[in-house]
Amino acid sequence: MRFQGLAASAAVTFTLLSTTSAFAVTEISWWHAMTGANNEVVETLSREFNESQSDYKVVPVFKGTYPDTLNAGIAAFRAKQPPHIIQVFDVGTGVMMGAEAAIKPVADILSMGGTAFDKSQYLPGIVAYYSKPDGTMLSFPYNSSSPILYYNKDLFQKAGLDPETPPKTWPEVFDAARKVKASGASNCGYTSTWLTWIGLENFAAWNNQQYGTKQNGLGGLDVELTINTPVFVKHFQNIADLAKENVFRYGGRTSEAKQLFLSGECAIMTESSGGLGDVVKSGMNYGLGQLPYYPDVEGAPQNTTPGGASLWVMAGHDEEEYEGVAAFFSFLSQTKIQQRLHEVSGYLPVTLAAYEATKKSGFYDKNPGREIPIRQMMGKEPTDNSRGVRLINLPAVRDIQNEEFEKMLAGEQTAQQALDNAVKRGNAAIEQAVNR
């Protein structure tokens, strides 16, 4: 029959088009979520590594957004075809740690490569976050960032503020923001990306406040949130008040608010240091400052915690392939590579040697803002409140927090109500996820 013949030949075509070719060298797949300039860095690194030796070939694959990448990795694991290396964003860390049978600790991998793994080479704040409570490093920090303050110098000038002095504390930020609006310099004084990551997780660490029990989840799974204590409530009531006066503008749950800063609509923004590249590219007259804190809170400023993403090695591959992964990670750890990554991307260097080398090169003298996130993270010995937040279902908990914030910013509830609800709903979600 003609039609069935057609269908059959179509099926053959499908099969032909969907087969992949094989290579003689051992292929290492690397799934990542980097776009734009950062994607080019990924491609360059892979190419350089592939040219530096002939046994292994790293194949980077862009998988979409961070959550897309994580979901693809999980799906692939369930389908028994996991990639070797997968880039997982900070919030996914808890998810990955909860699945010990699905991953290979990076510490094991690195020592496989023949070179003994020396943890002291790495920036302590970052390593602590990506390690198990017993100190075993589980994933390889690739792009780490920390929230800092950005401001528009032109708008500051127009509003009669000193363009060379960034506001240091939250009260100063709110003051400056109101002045900008009142002077008519621009419509919006302050905005922030990632209200959850910056306003809760880093806010807690930087002001030495407890985010949740069990050392914010680093010490155990069954965490109870404590983000409705007075310091948090005060901070978010301040933001809610600013929103009511139209001084604060909400941009969205992730980095959408950057658009508001880039277009010159908002004068001050808190954002990841990783977002610096776009600000530089936009050609605007910007200034940088450290993340604001509350001066009346004891111990503030403490230290900030890393965001960004790290590289996880997935279980289910051959020994030989893991040796390739180890070789690639050693390649990435080289001082000159780390130094270049840091200087090009705005992400933090992972090793101390790279930090020192960058310092020596005079890079920070030319770009003083670039050292801010490192100083923020390294300033003090971390406390139980400031090693970072790790929850088995942090993405879902952040969703809940965002929903409550949105209701608060829309004027439907107070900061106290928003945070109480976030705690109640968040705890229920955590409990359910832990028992799942």
Partner: protein, 282 residues
């Protein structure tokens, strides 16, 4: 002819002008945006007339720009989308016309069982059973294949129902005559049924082509490799708010490229398309 007052006609013109504005404007505006620079787009309001960056944006997008963002060139994305749309349209038409033929022109045991087996899926879009279907695809190893992208979307019964409706309007005398002429079921199908169904097939083709071209959730989940992605998926991947900024001017070019082919199909085939719709409506 019915008399119509001048006022009434004027009103009609005004409403239709508004209608066309509402319907066409978003597409026109995309076209406009695709000819402006990123900086212009980022500082609202965007002018209502095309900007000077047409060549620049389109050549950047076509020669590597989209590829730099999404990992694969736009020609590959368009090809994938086209394959998907064509395979779904043709596959579904073939499958449906055969099964409708069996159900209407034959009597056999368990006919009604098959009938319900098929038609219970009528209104159940793939979205509803998305997760389990995805699991099945993983089990069958169909992730990142054209088979996986298309076959499951052929599983609904809508086209079968359409053909069934149409076949039931074909007078029994025709079958009788064919049988008296000694024509077997195959000749009847080929020489009588297919030619009669031409308009229906054309209309269905348009509908299913659009359906395939505009798929979103399914290819989003079914493809891991970038070179298997569709234009619509690539668009979503281009809009990223994490760390790197969104190249809106290139996004808009890609939007135009994603909209153009199906619009052309609908507009060029609208005579058959509309006729098919109207006839099957009756």
């Amino acid at each position: 002819m019915i008399e119509r007052s001048f006022g009434s006609r004027l009103f009609a013109y005004a409403v239709l002008a508004a209608a066309i504005l509402i319907v066409v404007f978003p597409i026109y505006y995309t076209l406009v945006a695709s000819t402006h620079s990123l900086t212009t787009i980022l500082r609202p309001p965007l002018p209502l007339t095309p900007g000077p960056n047409f060549w620049e944006n389109y050549s950047t997008a076509l020669f590597g720009g989209i590829g730099r963002i999404g990992g694969v060139g736009v020609e590959r994305l368009l090809f994938n989308t086209f394959v998907m749309a064509m395979a779904i349209a043709l596959g579904k038409i073939v499958i449906s016309i055969l099964s409708a033929y069996a159900i209407v022109f034959f009597r056999f045991p368990f006919r009604m069982v098959f009938f319900w087996l098929i038609f219970i899926t009528l209104m159940l879009p793939v979205e509803v059973r998305i997760l389990p279907t995805y699991k099945v695809m993983v089990d069958l190893g169909l992730i990142d294949t054209y088979t996986g992208l298309t076959l499951p979307l052929m599983a609904s019964a809508t086209a079968t129902l359409l053909f069934r409706q149409f076949f039931m309007t074909i007078p029994g005398e025709l079958v009788e005559a064919a049988r008296l002429d000694g024509a077997g079921p195959w000749r009847f199908f080929k020489d009588i049924l297919l030619p009669l169904s031409r308009t229906n097939i054309a209309a269905l083709f348009v509908i299913l082509f659009i359906y395939g071209w505009t798929q979103y959730l399914w290819p989003l989940l079914m493809t891991n490799r970038n070179d298997m992605g569709t234009v619509v998926i690539a668009l979503r991947k281009m809009i990223s708010f994490a760390d790197a900024d969104t190249q809106w001017h290139l996004v808009m070019v890609t939007c135009v490229l994603a909209i153009l082919p199906p619009v052309l199909v609908v507009v060029l085939m609208q005579r058959w398309f509309v006729k098919g719709l109207v006839e099957s409506e009756k």
